[in-house]
Amino acid sequence: MEELIIEGSPKTPTIKFNPSTGHLLVSGRSIPENSIEFYKPLIDILESYNENSQSNTKVDIQLEYFNTSSSKCILDVFKKLEAINSGSSEVIINWFYEEDDEDMLEAGEDYQAIINVPFKMIEVEE
């Protein structure tokens, strides 16, 4: 499986997923008007990765902003990761938030409450 690399833009995050290391990175801003279309390649690759996953899958979510349209798609991504976690791979989701950004911490906690995958909340300096 090929690595998925989507370069970031002012409205969309950088996405890197390497199926041979099991590392997923989502970083930057996610405020597109049409987020379903944007997240489709990631959902698709996670779907096929689930059939042939690494023993460990590490996910780094480093979002500065995301809109509510993206929040549904991020949940879909996490649901795929939940399926991978209940399969043959051990998944960890690292949720990064800048110090003082309570909204972003709370957003991470909302997902943590819904998704059955270990989350780690990581505070970073601005």
Partner: protein, 181 residues
Amino acid sequence: MDSIHGFYDKMESGNIMLSFKGEVTSNLLTSVLQIMETKMENLSEPPKIKKKVYNILVECLQNLYHHIDEDDPDTIVDEKSALFMIKKSDEGEYSIMTGNYIAVENAEIMKNRLDKINEMDRDQLKTYYKEVLNNGEMSAKGGGGLGMIDIARKSGKKLEYNFDPIDDKVSFFSLNIKIAQ
């Protein structure tokens, strides 16, 4: 020519940082967000305020972008046209004001939704958000009903709104989001 000065004074005394009236397009959103970011950068706003205002602005503007109705030739108004204004009061409180036409039948739905949100406290909003996030269907426009809940959560204030009836088909929907400091 007097009216230009009048407009200026009104915006100046109303502490309007930015305003726009017309059709809200994707490119416009990108530009407005960039302008507001630079403005807040220049004002050295604390990162916390900057992020809140930015986040709420994204939701408000994308609401206008997604939910504006097509122009109905049977009504006297142009449904595609909207208004938004961003204000910073002398006390430093930000508000985002939006105005747009809405079909009468949708106005009732919107009013009920806003009333429901306004009755909730912080924890209830959190629970409601998670519920809609997890169970709500994504609408064709991608919103899925989370926008207003998110705005209410992040602003920390009640959503002020008004519907002005134009005729039996259309109303003008005004929304004033104040952002708690």
